[in-house]
């Protein structure tokens, strides 16, 4: 059924995603362990990671969890933390115009940070060598889908073995995520002009992180970087 070209593209995507699993798997185990400590059952951990499938918001939800969880607060914080997806989907949108909506809508369920960034960086690479279709649909699936079983599976393992896991954060895995994101940023590098916008994002995100409690720093950083780019584009 699968076209040989599609198969090789799926594999190419999965191969690029593979090293990132070493960051995602321990992170998922930490989430699972923390979730079971605040009283989530295995079914609930599976439901949260499997239906929501967005790590940052899940960590935030676990921090707020209680016997009767504050539903409205958790949902609003999820919305705030994941508002970056709006920008991610918008960045991908021009490359998806040739695809039917009914195919794209289910595919976007699996658009998590890492798979999206891998696929987007690949799209930039291909458009720079003037490929006819810069966005590779099977590559997107190969890069995004493997994170799903890894995220849900390792969260369940973390929840099941819980305290036996010890303090996994002591081993240095805390550094895996920034490392992944920095390499992904390098893949999007297009010169100092773009990097200027990123620097504004970084500085504003840091400032808001240090001064405003809660999860506002991602939102603020993204908006600041985009606004700066817009104003600069107006001048030229």
């Amino acid at each position: 059924m699968t076209h040989p070209y599609a198969r090789s593209e799926i594999l190419r995507g999965a191969r690029d995603a593979l090293p990132v699993m070493f960051a995602v798997a321990p992170y998922a185990m930490v989430l699972g362990a923390q979730a079971s400590q605040v009283g989530l059952s295995l079914v609930e951990v599976g439901a949260m990671t499997g239906l929501n499938f967005a790590g940052g918001s899940e960590f935030a939800a676990i921090k707020l969890w209680a016997a009767v969880p504050p539903m409205l607060t958790i949902v609003l914080i999820t919305l705030l933390i994941n508002s970056r997806h709006i920008v991610m989907g918008a960045a991908l949108a021009p490359y998806l115009q040739h695809l039917p909506k009914r195919k794209v809508i289910p595919a976007l369920f699996f658009m998590a940070d890492e798979g999206w960034a891998i696929s987007y960086a690949d799209t930039l690479r291909r458009s720079s060598v003037q490929q006819q279709t810069a966005f590779s649909w099977p590559y997107y699936w190969g890069a995004c889908l493997p994170f799903y079983p890894v995220w849900v599976g390792f969260a369940l393992i973390g929840a099941a073995i819980g305290p036996a896991l010890g303090n996994i954060e002591a081993y240095g895995f805390a550094m895996a995520f920034p490392a992944v994101f920095i390499v992904l940023l390098r893949g999007m590098w297009k010169g100092p002009r773009l990097a200027c916008s990123w620097l504004i994002s970084l500085l504003v995100a840091i400032l808001v992180y240090l001064t405003v409690p809660g999860a506002w720093f991602v939102f603020a950083g993204v908006i600041a970087g985009m606004l700066f780019t817009y104003l600069r584009a107006m001048e030229s």
């Binding site: 070493f22 999820t78 960045a91 920034p178 390499v183 504003v204 993204v222």
Partner: protein, 95 residues
């Protein structure tokens, strides 16, 4: 029950954010300014997510971040992640 309702609420909010950008821009033709913004935006997202690491209160994490930045300059993903994790683990033993 409250737990599952909360989870379904989270999941709906998240999926809505995943669809929104695509549904809004799917049919639009972007002008040069909007294109410039959308070109910068993906990097703005990634850097903002990891911003707290740049002001970590633990010196070993800041040093490990510096090492990671240097490693990421040239090395592929797997090596960079390995060096990042090993350098933080090593520094925690030393400091």
């Amino acid at each position: 029950m409250a737990a599952l309702l909360t989870i379904v609420g989270m999941a709906s909010a998240t999926y809505a954010t995943r669809l929104a950008g695509y549904l809004l821009l799917r049919k639009r033709k972007l002008g040069p300014r909007a294109r410039a913004v959308m070109e910068a935006a993906p990097g703005c997202v990634l850097i903002s997510v990891i911003a707290p690491h740049f002001v970590s209160p633990h010196p070993e994490e800041l040093i490990a971040l510096g090492i990671t930045l240097v490693a990421a300059w040239r090395l592929p993903m797997l090596f960079t992640v390995a060096i990042a994790v090993a350098s933080l683990a090593g520094l925690r033993l030393l400091l």
